[in-house]
């Protein structure tokens, strides 16, 4: 008897037998399994990229300081974070999918997301209200939360990567005419390889670009190689004033 685990067992949200009798094997689309081939280098260009990388240990003062300042620039703090960015996904075959331009305001658990398509979502942390421009209707989604854009997610991941001292500092680059430090780290999930790269302004340490490059086999065993890129058009921390808090509210519809 373990009272802690017993309490968890009693809180199992699934009833025994809830899914019994729903199996339908004949509905599964099972193709003949492919022969497995060993892929020595799934992404040949990666070797060239890695050859150009200058790896600075996480403990080196310069790298540590850049990471600390980049963290501070992305961390919410007391103000309202605002980012306007353009996002897209590219596959290894050159196929491109644009996600358009989005503006995001974040303040604590509150968030507002506005796309150039007119799609708009706001959350106070306890639920989400979404405006769908196709229907012109508002919909309430209690017990849901919004997923912040990748730029904000990059901050969270960078903090995690920093704790594990797994952030590389690459050669400086220019992004939109601004000199940038380039930070790279990897996310380990036991599945595909995921490589994150964040470009931060050399003066303000604000994010300029974020890429999420992943490759490997997808859930159906097919090889994939794709890069999600978010280019930051504007980024600022607004003072927490009554006027600025109105930016977290749904616009008039």
């Amino acid at each position: 008897m373990d009272p802690v685990l017993d309490r968890v067992r009693a809180a199992d949200p699934v009833d025994p037998g809830e899914f019994a009798g729903r199996a339908n094997f004949d509905a599964l689309v099972l193709e003949p399994p492919r022969r497995r081939r060993r892929r020595l280098l799934a992404f040949p260009g990666l070797a060239a990229v890695l050859a150009a990388v200058i790896v600075v240990p996480g403990s080196a003062p310069q790298a540590s300081e850049i990471i600390r300042r980049a963290n501070a620039a992305i961390a919410p703090g007391d103000g309202i974070l605002y980012a306007k960015s353009r996002a897209e996904r590219r596959g290894a075959d050159g196929a491109r999918e644009s996600y358009g331009t989005r503006e995001v305001w974040v303040h604590g658990a509150a968030m507002r997301w506005l796309e150039d398509t007119g799609n708009e979502e706001v959350s106070d942390g306890s639920g989400v209200t979404r405006f769908d421009p196709r229907t012109g209707k508002l919909a309430e989604h209690p017990n849901m939360q919004m997923v912040a854009g990748e730029i904000f997610r990059a901050g969270e991941l960078l903090r995690s990567a920093r704790a594990n001292r797994d952030v590389e500092l690459l050669d400086d680059e220019s992004v939109g005419g601004r000199d940038a430090h380039v930070l790279r780290w990897h996310e380990q999930r036991g599945g595909p390889t995921i490589e994150m790269t964040l470009w931060v302004d050399k003066e303000s340490y604000e994010p300029l670009r974020f890429t999420d490059h992943s490759w490997g086999d997808d859930v159906e065993g097919r090889p994939f190689d794709e890069t999600f890129t978010e280019n930051v058009l504007e980024f600022e921390t607004l003072p927490d004033t009554a006027q600025n808090r109105k930016l977290l509210l749904m616009g008039p519809h």
Partner: protein
Amino acid sequence: MRDSPSRRETFRAIYEAHHAAVCAYFARRAPRDDVEDLAAETFVVAWRNMPRTVADPLPWLYAVARNVLANHRRRASRRGELAPDPATGDPAERLNGDRGLARAFARLSENDREAIRLVAWEGLSNADAARSAGCSGPAFAVRLSRARARLSRALAETPPVATFIVPERI
């Protein structure tokens, strides 16, 4: 491995024996509307990767399901879709209306929560849970022990709250 009749029949037996368990796995971790699709995706992946012999397929299926779920969440995040609220909206965290336990559970890391779920809800032994979690048996035993201790502390620190039934569907 070729698509022989015996292989297909072996897989059919595995599917019919464990389909409900895989659905329950997803129902505890994902929105209910996605459960059957995720389960079907899991079996399609399992079919492609089924080893020549599977003595005890359920932990292996849970390991496949874990990767399917990670990909599913990743795709949703990429699209900027709504995600279940880790504190209240996710079936895994709603804990059948035990609000005090839900609050304590929400204070654990995802690794800790998953270790407890695999043992308490999926009913796996430490060895089978380790296979599902993709780690060694001793590593899982340590993880579970620490997770249980953290949950116990979190429960002790969580003030009593009124328990009520949370709506079943997100």
